[in-house]
């Protein structure tokens, strides 16, 4: 798999490190390895983590606090009716292969993503686009079918980064973007190496290069970090070790927010979960603090609806489903299950699900509900629970940002079908007024919380362990990205 171009750049890194007295590279550990390197044709978060903002950039981008800021578009104008966006592109931007970036690349990218042969995993982001035109080299006009409040937000996703027709053929193994780092080498199963792009249009990166090392087993992650084989571990998989790293002066522990609402999903069309009282009983039977404590070692924020607590529009609705086993029993009796019932609890691989599942099963047993656990791989989970609706309960963290809209999709795996909610979300989609949007979001949170669609557990925490001398790793995870453009060593 050693490609000639790769080999050459690999050599130059080796030389660079040999000459600099002090290592100016950083090695970042991650749990998952990307399957390939095209962010625009797969759902795998690992692809974005390595490449987003480092190698590929979009017209807009997420900054570390989750706000949307200009990327390759330095400015834009929106028509009064909200359907025409005119973007002005940055000047002097080139791709890593030397070809220049201009409006035709934007047209190519967006047409490819929304075309009939598109394999973009988030094709829905582009569904509202009616047309994309290059007016001149630096101006692009995007016309929408109808106004869309979240359009600039959508363009900031990793699935909307700009790619070039010249390099699209080999993008899966040799990604060519416009970012502050160039792709150098991929040792499959082990690591991906990036080197600084010295021709970068913006502030050049402080690091000479970076290596992402893929370490899936938590023990190995612990060992690699302790032995300082990696300089940072992004998304450290075992929260139980964090106290130990925190106590060690060599390391800093970053605990931030993610967009991951972790829920105990219930199959709303499957008896007895079609009965709201039963779902309410389940919600009251669950002690969130025991789950956060036991499964996440204290890392995680309780939630009472499907919404991220750090979002300004958040309403605290945890009171709707406060831990109250007696009330749960009473509700079960009222629903016609005085002796409880049996159901299935299907758990995907992440430890929040596996550990949380054991705790939840024990808590449900205390009110008379027998939940039979089966541990599934993701592929099985997708087949059985997500596609086949063949489950009673399951635990999943929904990591897409602002995804409360999934409750407006009756075919979605928890099969919640509420016309009022669907209408509300449809109105929200086209609403442009920020205050109205906030109000609508708050109403949406309340509806699904009071309908007890699912039992809302906690907001997944983003926990990273970083060498104390390495600065600039994002604490929060507004999107799946390990943005290294601002990372540097301090002595």
């Amino acid at each position: 798999m050693m490609r000639p171009v790769t080999f050459a750049t690999g050599m130059s890194i080796a030389l660079a490190t040999a000459f600099s007295a002090q290592a100016r590279d950083a090695t970042v550990g991650m749990q998952l390895e990307p399957p390939h390197l095209d962010p625009t044709s797969a759902a795998a978060g690992a692809i974005d983590q390595v490449l987003y903002s480092n190698v590929f950039e979009g017209l807009t981008r997420f900054s570390s606090d989750g706000s949307v800021v200009p990327g390759l578009a330095e400015s834009w104008e929106v028509s009064d009716d909200g359907v025409i966006y005119t973007f002005t592109l940055r000047e002097g931007v080139t791709f890593h292969d030397g070809t220049s970036f201009d409006a035709s690349d934007v047209v190519f990218t967006l047409d490819r993503a929304r075309g009939p042969d598109s394999t973009n995993a988030q094709k829905g982001l582009f569904a509202n686009i009616a047309g994309v035109q290059a007016v001149n080299d630096r101006t692009v006009v995007i016309t929408l079918n109808e106004p869309q409040g979240a359009f600039l937000f959508n363009l900031a996703w990793g699935d909307a980064v700009i790619v070039a027709p010249e390099s699209i053929e080999d993008i899966k193994s040799n990604p060519i973007g416009t970012g502050a780092f160039r792709f150098a080498d991929w040792k499959q199963g082990d690591s991906i190496t990036l080197v600084r792009n010295d021709d970068y249009w913006g502030t050049p990166a402080a690091l000479d290069g970076a290596t992402f090392k893929f370490i899936s087993a938590p023990t190995a992650a612990f060992a690699a970090m302790m032995a300082e084989d990696v300089d940072a571990f992004y998304g450290y998989p075992a929260p139980e070790n964090l106290a130990q790293f925190d106590a060690d002066p060599r390391f800093t522990v970053l605990a931030g927010n993610t967009e991951g609402e972790t829920i105990l999903a219930m199959n709303n069309k499957l008896p007895p979960f079609d009965n709201k009282l039963v779902r309410q009983a389940v919600s009251h039977a669950i002690d969130r603090s025991a789950i956060i404590d036991g499964a996440m070692f204290g890392y995680g924020t309780p939630i009472g609806s499907h919404f991220a607590p750090h979002n300004p529009a958040y309403v605290d609705l945890t009171g709707n489903s406060a831990y109250d086993p007696e009330k749960a029993k009473a509700l079960l009796a009222e629903a016609g299950f005085p002796d409880g019932f049996s159901t299935t609890l299907k758990l995907p691989p992440p430890s929040y699900a596996r550990r949380g599942g054991e705790i939840i099963a024990a808590q449900l047993r205390a009110v008379g509900i027998e939940a039979e656990i089966s541990n599934l791989e993701w592929a099985q989970w997708l087949e059985q629970a997500f596609k086949g609706y063949d489950y009673g309960m399951t635990i999943v963290s929904h990591t897409e940002p602002m995804d409360i809209g999934i409750y407006a999709r009756p075919g979605y795996y928890f099969q919640y079908d509420n016309l009022d909610f669907q209408k509300l979300m449809a109105e929200f989609e086209v609403e442009n007024d920020p205050d109205m949007r906030t109000e609508m979001l708050q109403k949406a949170q309340t509806i699904i919380s009071e309908d007890y669609v699912n039992a809302y557990l906690f907001q997944l925490a983003q926990t990273s362990v970083v060498n104390a001398k390495l600065e600039g790793i994002w604490a929060d995870a507004p999107t799946q990205a390990v943005d290294l453009t601002g990372v540097r060593w301090v002595d």
Partner: protein
């Protein structure tokens, strides 16, 4: 003799613990007490508590049942099918029967066992029964090959020739003369496979393919402990030692038994 006694003592301890767990365990292993997690051994919890606040001693006692059940049935499958196949192959050495049996064995054995276990699990879902099947299938060729290998060298002995001259049939010779003469090797292999069965069950549950929670399993306890044992070594130490001591006990007992049962070897002290 010392080996035998030590082996029997360890094995008995393991069997008694498993049997007792049907009637009594210090705590209910399904009850979680998160506020009481990762407590080191105390009088109240002699082996301490795990990451969810469960009593580790109780979990090890119940986990022993899982291990025994899986390993015994798997060895049973291996002996029940493997030994007759091996005897038949040796008796008909060189014929097509031998060829088919041995190639069939090679074929089973050629499949990477853990991967087949993973695939069986992918089809039928993880459970203790699937663990038994996955381990059992791979015991068949082991017993068949060992049986055949040993039986072949017995077939070369003079007294077999004598028995054949005396008109005894192949089947009768296999059962009356071959089987007793390879019994010691089968005992050695049987113990190895039993202990390997316990280890295999541990490995399968370690990767999440064996018995499902809340049924405790030693392998899963080790898997759950692996990020925690720098903070709380007892949670990996006790289940790990339970596996080691049980396997050790079984092996010592098997060795001792062989010495006891087979005077030929003792005579061979030279």
């Amino acid at each position: 003799m010392r080996n035998l006694i030590l082996g029997f003592a360890l094995t008995a301890l393991f069997l008694i613990g498993a049997a007792l767990s049907f009637l009594w365990t210090p705590y209910d292993h399904t009850v979680l007490e998160v506020t009481n997690k990762l407590k080191p051994p105390t009088l109240a919890h002699p082996f301490g508590t795990d990451q969810l606040g469960r009593d580790i001693l109780s979990m090890i006692m119940v986990g022993a049942r899982t291990s025994i059940a899986v390993a015994i049935v798997a060895v049973g499958i291996g002996i029940g099918l493997g030994v007759p196949l091996g005897l038949a192959a040796a008796a008909s050495r060189g014929s097509w029967i031998d060829e088919v049996i041995m190639r069939g064995n090679d074929l089973i054995f050629a499949f990477p066992s853990l991967l087949i276990a993973i695939m069986i699990t992918a089809v039928f879902g993880p459970s203790a029964v699937n663990a038994i099947i996955a381990i059992g299938i791979f015991n068949i060729p082991v017993f068949a090959r060992v049986t055949r290998g040993a039986a072949l060298s017995i077939w070369q002995q003079d007294y077999i020739l004598a028995a054949r001259v005396a008109g005894k049939g192949t089947m009768r010779i296999s059962v009356e003369h071959i089987l007793p003469n390879i019994a010691n090797l089968l005992i050695v292999q049987g113990t190895i496979q039993f202990s390997l069965g316990i280890l295999a069950e541990a490995a399968l549950s370690y990767v999440g393919l064996g018995a499902q929670p809340p049924v405790p399993s030693w392998g899963r306890m080790l898997a759950d402990s692996q990020t925690l044992f720098m903070i709380a070594p007892h949670i990996t130490l006790f289940p790990g030692c339970a596996i080691v001591l049980t396997v050790l006990g079984l092996n010592l007992a098997g060795d001792g038994l062989r010495d006891l049962l087979d005077p030929r070897i003792r005579r061979a002290g030279l």
